[in-house]
Amino acid sequence: MSDDEHMGKRERESEILSRVVAGDVDAFEYFVVTYQKRITRFVYTLLRNPADADGVAQDVFIKAFRALPEFKGQSAFETWLTRIAINAVRDHVRRRRPVVSFSELHASEDDDGPDLPAAFDPADGTSPERDLFSRDIRHRIAEALVGLSPRQRAVFVMKHYEEKSIAEIGEATGLDEGTIKSHLFRAARKLRARLEDLR
């Protein structure tokens, strides 16, 4: 998207936001429809649980709606929404943490096959071996990501899954460049440790 397009989008969103804040609740649907896929993908990449991802993504929009009067427009709406998503995931992880460890969860689920509903299970089906390999890697990466702090996880996913620049990550998280790079490196190192035997 060019700079002009960015500006145009920002102006259009600013106008819709004014309508929502003025009481036109239905106008908020524009933001839901525009960003639901991106936010759900982001949350799902962080949580790796379809049901949780759907619920948290919905929460993100509801929280955003309630906090709209606080939105000053200093950043793009999408960046602000991402910030809310990071906080929502962090809160969700804190609430869920003591219940069961990810490894335990997957150890039991693996016995009964894949844990994802068909719509969220992307095994390509080219061959059973490849599907198995794919699931194994995904579980290991998911375990490594879940082992990171929510902040490290968010930074890593934004950089390597969403291809955000360091500046964009800084805007969404409020972290400086050095801290972001440090989080990225530690996250990558943990991931590498989990996948060491792939060679």
């Binding site: 919905q58 929280k63 890697i137 995904r138 290991r140 990558a188 991931l191």
Partner: protein, 183 residues
Amino acid sequence: MNATRHLGSDEIIERVFPAGDRPVAVPDHLAACAECQERVANLREAWLLDRGAVSGAVDDLPFEFWDAQAAAVMAAVRSGAGEAEDAEGAAIAVVREFPGRARGILRHPAIAFSSLAAALLLVGALSLMRSSGTVPAMKTAAVTSMEKTPALVNDASDEELLVSIDRVLEDSSLAGFLVEETL
């Protein structure tokens, strides 16, 4: 095999997951060492596989899923906005019910004590009548309705009640939710 040393784990990580935005220069050794190239390729493939899988999983969801998700959000948003308006209206109504003069009367000690005494007398009289069997205990409409309702339906209502309590609890935590400018 190449004479220079193999890439260490950190260097392999840096190849696949560069911390900066700029591409990292390819080490001379990597250009010539098949073993190191394979290690880098394996890690990259694993990550790309996962990234593609995650992305594909969400992108392939049917439009019904997105419709339902948007509808759920908008329903919550609309009901939240409605509740906020109701609460505002109720607050105004309460203020209107108790204008300054009425509040002054309520503050008068003699009237307050008389009201309390009358209420206590009424409760006492009703208790005596019930214990002597004069007045049967009245069933409220809600109790009657619950008695007529099969247990399964009551369970479902309980479930709904628990869910709504959950939501209210969540909402109260959201009320204090601070959308931080930084993490």
